[in-house]
């Protein structure tokens, strides 16, 4: 049990009357990359957003079941959602840096958490930018606006911003889908390095990306979890026919 970071038990999600997630049960291993794949509308992004309770922002959403992170149900009434989001960070599909300087973007999280001294902030900013493999490119222009960076750089900046609050888990919602191949491979390489310290869950509609980057893969279809297993097994000998059909491109 020590190797499991997140345990999901019969999680269901309703948009009003429509059931978008149907009794999802799975385990996310710690310090590994787990990929969520499936055709459009299968619920993988919705499920991802359940993990850091971003679906709370949508009106009319009802969630049943349990999502245990390190043994604590994050949907329990006594849990403060703000604390959850400090431990579970998210990188979005389209990079969304604040219209502030590069430094201020990365320092945003720590400042919110009460860190005020310049030295501490400087250190956190540098560490985070290094971890996101973008320090060398921006170290001389930390005061410049983040909006002047290229798409790939902005996305790495968003990753640095997420790392700056020292989360345990990083959720990535199709982080490279808007990027060119070179930037994409940089992000993939980054994911590979980050998994030593963080547990990473990545949603991608690009199966090859899931195959390249992840240790475990979960296949979703029409709101249900069809199969989850080691990526090597899923892509060489999947157990469910639906999984095989999707991976070989027979449908979806």
């Amino acid at each position: 049990m020590k190797n499991i970071k997140i345990e999901v038990k019969d999680l269901s999600l309703y948009y009003g009357e429509k059931k978008a997630l149907k009794e999802i049960s799975l385990e996310i291993p710690r310090n590994k990359v787990t990929a969520l794949i499936g055709p459009s509308g299968c619920g993988k992004s919705t499920f991802l957003r359940c993990i850091n309770r971003m679906n709370d922002l949508i009106p009319d959403v009802k969630i049943t079941g349990q999502m245990l992170v390190e043994g604590i149900d994050i949907y329990d009434k006594n849990v403060d959602v703000v604390n959850i989001r400090k431990k579970i960070g998210m990188v979005f599909q389209k990079s969304n840096p604040f219209p502030k300087s590069i430094y201020e973007n990365v320092a945003y999280g720590p400042k919110i958490n009460g860190i005020k001294t310049k030295n501490e902030l400087d250190e956190i900013v540098e560490t985070s930018l290094r971890q996101a493999a973008i320090w060398d490119e921006v170290k001389d222009r930390l005061g410049d606006s983040a909006m002047g960076l290229s798409g790939g750089q902005q996305q790495r900046l968003c990753i640095a911003r997420t790392l700056a609050v020292s989360p345990d888990i990083i959720l990535m919602d199709e982080p490279a889908s808007a990027l060119d191949p070179i930037s994409t491979s940089k992000i993939e390489e980054l994911v590979h390095e980050l998994k030593e310290q963080y547990t990473i869950i990545i949603v991608t509609h690009n199966m090859q990306q899931a195959a390249r980057t992840s240790d475990y893969t979960a296949f979703f279809y029409l709101g249900e979890l069809i199969e989850i297993g080691k990526t090597n097994a899923i892509f060489t000998k999947p157990e469910q026919k639906q999984t095989e059909d999707y991976i070989t491109g027979r449908f979806g």
Binding site: M54, L57, R85, F92, M147
Partner: protein, 314 residues
């Protein structure tokens, strides 16, 4: 016998002959005429004002008091009065309007009845004739609040229960409130949802998100709204007719309970109640010119600031 082959050149794109698009040209032509007409009218009006007012328009005019039964001299007190008016008006309207706009965009739920009521009120306020504001100011601020304050603090002695710059500014602020609310709301709406999500995903509370992400993004809207409000407040006369404006004061207002002179009101008085209308014509035109310059330059500043902020955000 060899058959002659006639080669018909078929156009790859279409078989239509290249003709003249009459309808299109007509529309363009009418639009151009309309634009020219508007520009012409504008130039004529401006031309007349500048021509008639240039004689009196000088630094002395702006900085000296009116003399000789207001047939000579300058408009300094009117300028100062207008200035104090818009400052107090802004202090009242801008924070109130900003907070309302933030509530409407950030806190109110989709189908909240309160939000709907607020929006309806704002829209209605925007179309109310400005004289009604003046009547409201008289009835509510002066006769109700003013006399109420006098009863409570001055033992019934008349101090607040009469027209002064405070009541006039508050009345004007009601007039310009819709402008501010709409401008700020528009600016807030341009902030993409993803930025709020990004902040929340980092573990910020809703209030922290508003303070650090939403509010800075709304500053351009606040500035635009304020300057539009100010330029409107500088020119409107009806709301201050019986809430505080006076046609002649020997001194500048010293406190909020004093009356004040006002540029717009000054023009009105000059053209209807002056002792010698002919003589004061140049003063009227010059005052109009000053007011115009003031309003136009304020609008220009609003545009510049807004475009600067937009460029910085890129």
């Amino acid at each position: 016998m060899e058959a002659t082959i006639i080669e018909t050149k078929t156009n790859f794109f279409s078989n239509k002959k290249k003709g003249v698009d009459i309808k299109g040209k007509l529309v363009v032509g009418i639009t151009q005429v309309a634009v020219l007409l508007i520009i012409a009218i504008l130039f004529v009006i401006l031309g007349i004002i500048v021509y008639e007012g240039r004689a009196k328009f000088s630094w002395e005019f702006i900085s000296s008091f009116p003399t000789n039964g207001m047939t000579e001299g300058g408009i300094f007190p009117a300028l100062i009065g207008t200035f104090i008016l818009v400052v107090v008006m802004s202090i009242a309207a801008v924070p109130f309007g900003t907070i309302t706009a933030i509530y409407l965009t950030e806190y109110a739920k989709e189908n909240s009845k309160i939000a709907a009521a607020i929006r309806f009120s704002v829209r209605t306020l925007a179309v109310v004739p400005s004289i009604i504001f003046g009547l409201f100011g008289l009835g509510f601020f002066i006769q109700f609040m003013g006399t109420g304050m006098d009863k409570a603090f001055n033992g019934g002695e008349l101090h607040w229960g009469q027209p002064n710059i405070l009541w006039a500014s508050l009345t004007m602020s009601l007039l310009t409130l819709p402008v501010i609310i709409v401008s700020v709301e528009e600016a807030l709406k341009t902030i993409p949802r993803e930025l709020r999500e990004a902040s929340l995903a980092l573990g910020a509370t809703k209030w922290q998100t508003i303070k650090n992400v939403v509010f800075p993004g709304s500053i351009s809207g606040i500035m635009t709204g304020t300057i539009l409000a100010v330029s409107r407040g500088a020119g409107e006369v009806a709301p201050i007719l019986f809430t505080g404006a006076a046609y002649y004061l020997a001194t500048l207002p010293k406190s909020l309970s004093d009356q004040f002179m006002n540029l717009g009101y000054h023009i009105y008085i000059m053209s209807t109640q002056s002792s010698d209308v002919e003589k004061t014509m140049p003063i009227q035109f010059a005052t109009t010119l000053v007011l115009l310059i003031l309003t136009l330059s304020l609008n220009l500043v609003a545009v510049i600031i807004r475009s600067r902020i937009r460029r910085k955000a890129k």
